[in-house]
């Protein structure tokens, strides 16, 4: 597995773990994947089956219908019988045969209108979104005007002008008026794609605009285009039936709307022929339902966030937890994470993102958790703060989080709210997303104080000024909105808010990763100073271990959902025990000292849906032996450190 030459190449063997939402987003647009998604969606399957029935009927009406639908040769107004399944009309025609022949009329209108409206929507929406500027302004205006037109009355006016509108008139009128909603959706999708690097890449390559629109943008929007088509077809089924019902269609055509028109004219419901009206009504509803179901299904495919996946809890039997040992006031630990596991549901089954993690945090300790993307570090953090769900999916499926002697896993949301912010606060990665853009810093601090304490207005004002000064922000910025602050100031304001109640534990998720090195360093120095002064403990998640090298007391290295190594920070930098830690340290180019050629770590982290047996790092490990592949590796204690590597096992 580990030839030395591997360092220079990147074997394409297993699909990498990758963050699940990103993969899902990347998948949309491929026909194969769309088909795959359809076959798994119940809505889509029912929709497809219904549609198949209608399509077959409309292709072979002659074979299915027993009689000529226009032949007026039977006794009028017969009830249902074996000869006439749905009875006959007052003109002596067979209702079932009319229904069968009408399918074709209704379906063809739906498909034709769908195609025309979709073509217009794509043309207008994508051009507007991609070309931008004045073109966008004009096309968007047209779209919006058509969108707010009272369509049905307008169609009645047009159709009445064109007496007994034939098939073609109906399709053109419905198509020309029905594209605007889809165009808006396609425009906004195009806008979001416009700055994507693959389009920039095509432009830099020298492609023409027409190529970029037709061959780069459209294929990525397949599912949205299909959804637009289905939406327009649904609208056409209903509108066309409505128009024909009120007599604006060709009364001699074969369609469900026309049937309704004649049934109404002949007072079918009161003249003992209820099926004359009911049968086409049900068919319209079913065809509409079929389009609607397919439309919903495609909406879910094109935005996976709409889909709700449920974790199969039965696969994680929960052992009755032993009663927590009493954590008395003298206990020097503020937090104990015991055997914590987190899983989330995916289409291909549950994924265990955090796998039996154990650690303790002393009062006032600074613990850094480092690891690569997808290793579970953020999930672990969110699980500790009980914030799993959105935006990070997952459920705690085992273990405990003891905070000040209480198990956070078992706490009710109400009790958690009382705890959060006062005793335990969280600083998120992106202050821009965590701060409310329409409230000033002072407003947001006041909201927090009012929700979590009964401080007076004056106390709140004083405290807000005080915490801002703590993070070296001039209190005049209390009345600034988040967008008026620089990136570094926003992050410091977030930290100031987290310190409003002097919590015992502050949890930070990559608070510096959006900052430049200079701002990053000054923020780190500040966090460390505050921590020493106020005595709170810190859990600091980062992907950059050199960032915390001077600040954290201990370092927890995560790999593939597990603790790979837990050591004193200095110890880990000087004598890394786990080959993964060694590899990570060897992957940072040095700013000083001799230049040496680095190799990094070959391969990529495993897919957690299907982790390798034995040591999870073994496939990338330069030291891997046969025994690494056979069994799960426990954590070994080595000179005060914990390490998950069999090579260290015998020394412990």
């Amino acid at each position: 597995m580990s030839a030395p030459s591997v360092g220079a190449t990147d074997h394409v063997a297993t699909p990498p773990a990758g963050p699940a939402p990103m993969v899902a987003a990347a998948r949309q647009g491929r026909l194969g994947d769309i088909w795959h998604a359809i076959s798994r969606s119940r809505k889509a399957v029912v929709g497809v089956l219904l549609m198949l029935v209608f399509v077959v009927v409309s292709i072979f009406p002659g074979q299915i219908a027993p009689y000529d639908p226009t032949a007026k040769k039977f006794p009028p107004a017969l009830g249902p019988s074996w000869q006439h399944l749905l009875g006959t009309t007052s003109f002596g025609e067979d209702i079932f045969s009319q229904l069968v022949w009408g399918t074709r009329g209704s379906l063809v209108i739906a498909l034709a209108v769908g195609a025309l409206a979709t073509a217009l929507a794509v043309l207008v929406g994508v051009s507007a979104g991609y070309l931008g500027g004045a073109t966008d302004g004009f096309l968007s205006l047209v779209t919006d005007v058509i969108l707010v037109l009272p369509i049905f009355p307008l169609i009645i006016v047009i159709a009445a002008y064109e007496k007994n509108a034939g098939f073609l008139t109906l399709v053109v009128v419905l198509g020309v008026l029905g594209w605007s909603y889809g165009a808006r959706q396609l425009r906004s999708q195009t806008l979001s794609l416009r700055r994507r690097d693959f389009l920039e890449s095509a432009r830099v390559r020298g492609e023409r605009k027409s190529y970029v629109i037709l061959c780069e943008i459209l294929p990525t929007m397949t599912s949205l285009i299909v959804a637009t088509f289905l939406g327009a077809a649904l609208y056409a089924v209903l509108t066309a039936a409505g128009l024909q019902f009120i007599g604006l269609g060709d009364p001699n055509s074969q369609s469900w709307g026309t049937m309704l028109y004649w049934a109404q004219n002949e007072q079918a419901l009161f003249a003992g022929m209820p099926l004359w009206a009911i049968a086409p009504g049900v068919c319209i509803a079913l065809l509409g339902a079929s389009f609607a179901l397919l439309n919903y299904a495609f909406d879910e495919i094109s935005s996976p966030a709409l889909r709700v996946r449920k974790l199969d809890r039965a696969r994680f039997p929960r052992a009755e937890p032993p009663p927590p040992e009493p954590m008395d006031a003298a206990d020097r630990h503020v937090l104990k994470v015991q055997d914590l596991s987190v899983a989330y549901a995916t289409d291909s089954g549950p994924v265990v993102a955090v796998d039996h993690v154990d650690f303790e945090l002393a009062r006032g300790e600074f613990l850094a958790i480092v690891g690569e993307s997808g290793c579970g570090k953020s999930t672990l953090l969110y699980a500790i703060a009980r914030l799993l769900g959105s935006p990070l999916p997952g459920e705690i499926v085992g273990g405990r989080v003891l905070f000040q002697g209480r198990d956070l896993v078992l706490l009710e949301e109400r009790e958690l709210r009382r705890l959060r912010w006062r005793d335990l606060s969280v600083v998120m990665q992106s202050a821009m997303n965590a701060l409310n853009p329409v409230l000033t810093v002072a407003d947001q601090m006041r909201d927090a104080c009012e929700a979590h304490s009964d401080m007076s207005k004056k106390e709140i004002r004083d405290r807000s000024r005080e915490v801002l000064r703590l993070v070296s922000i001039d209190p005049v910025h209390l009345h600034s909105y988040p967008h008026q602050l620089s990136g570094g100031m926003r992050q410091r304001a977030m930290i100031a808010m987290a310190l409003l109640f002097t919590p015992d534990l502050v949890i930070m998720d990559e608070p510096t990763s959006a900052l430049d090195v200079v701002a990053q360093r000054s923020l780190m120095v500040q966090i460390k100073e505050l921590q020493e002064r106020l005595g709170f403990a810190v859990i600091f998640v980062t992907h950059d271990m050199s960032l915390v090298s001077h600040f954290s007391d201990r370092l927890l290295v995560m790999y593939a959902g597990q603790v790979a190594e837990l050591s004193k920070t200095r110890e880990l930098f000087d004598r890394p025990l786990h080959p993964y830690s060694q590899g990570l340290l060897g992957a940072f180019p040095a700013l000083r000292g001799p230049k040496v050629r680095l190799l990094g770590i070959p391969g990529s982290p495993p897919n957690l849906a299907n982790p390798p047996t034995g040591c999870r790092f073994a496939p990338r490990c330069p030291l891997a032996e046969a025994r690494c592949l056979s069994a799960e590796v426990p954590l070994y204690a080595v000179n005060g450190s914990l390490v998950r590597c069999v090579l260290q096992g015998h020394e412990g």
């Binding site: 220079a8 394409v12 990103m22 020298g206 200079v518 050199s546 960032l547 090298s549 940072f588 680095l598």
Partner: protein, 324 residues
Amino acid sequence: MTETLLRTEGLTRHFKVGKLMSRRQILHAVDDVDLTIGHGEIVALVGESGSGKSTIARLLALVYQPTRGEIWFEGRPLSRLRGRRSKLAYSAAVPMVFQDPYSSMNPAYRVSHGILRGMKLHRGDLTRTERGTELNRVLDAVGLVPAGDTRRRFPHELSGGQRQRVGFAQALALRPKLIVADEPVSMLDVSIRVGVLNLMGELREHEGVSFLYITHDVASARYLADRVLVMYAGHLVEEGPTEAVLQRPKHPYTQLLVSAVPDPRAELGLADARDVGEPPKVVDPKPGCRFRQRCPLAIARCEIETPQLRELADGRRVACHVAD
């Protein structure tokens, strides 16, 4: 120094900012940049976000037109490029690799798409079979083996590092002379970054390509580059051989930048950790040094006169009235 491949003279790009109702303001993204890149040379362009690095990349890739100044490629000025054919020829010689591996490939196409498109557009003389052979060769050259397997994959089946290698393969298929790489490793995980950096070194070695490596990561610039250019607020503030600039920075901004890089092997440099300033947004600037508000060495002259790059004894150039 090696023979010059690309050279800019007074390269400047301004953007209009501000809404319809307010006064039109001019953002100076890049001002008066003179830089040179030699044949087979790797030049790193470092600076913080908003310093104008990416604007320079896009000026070189013809995404933007310069507001002022000129780019000379192989001795010819780009402003004289006329017609689609000559612009295409330049695009093939100077392709670009993008920052975000998760958005730089079209999710609807296989890996081979971008590479083949580039060849169809720029190397029309190749037959279908020759394109296939060339496709395998470039995938091989960027270390995506086996090539026959990789070319059939979709982007979501590849890791970030593999996607970034595809980006380099796309560039390579055009037989480039200079690859503009805009933060090509900043979104990759630490363990695979080095692999991509090494790849750039190998491509220079074996294919003779020059690189403009744009990054905010000073240590990686040292690892890879022959020369370093440091940008601050749209200006080039220091330029010279990598070791000279990064080991003995002369411009006060370069000194601040280098000292802020986290280095587990060194003591924590706290001397100027109190600096909480950030680069200014350069909107309608007045003359003067753009770093002066944060500068510990600033003198009266810095308020009035914009420092120009001047050459020091060791061959580097610094834009500072005080540094020597």
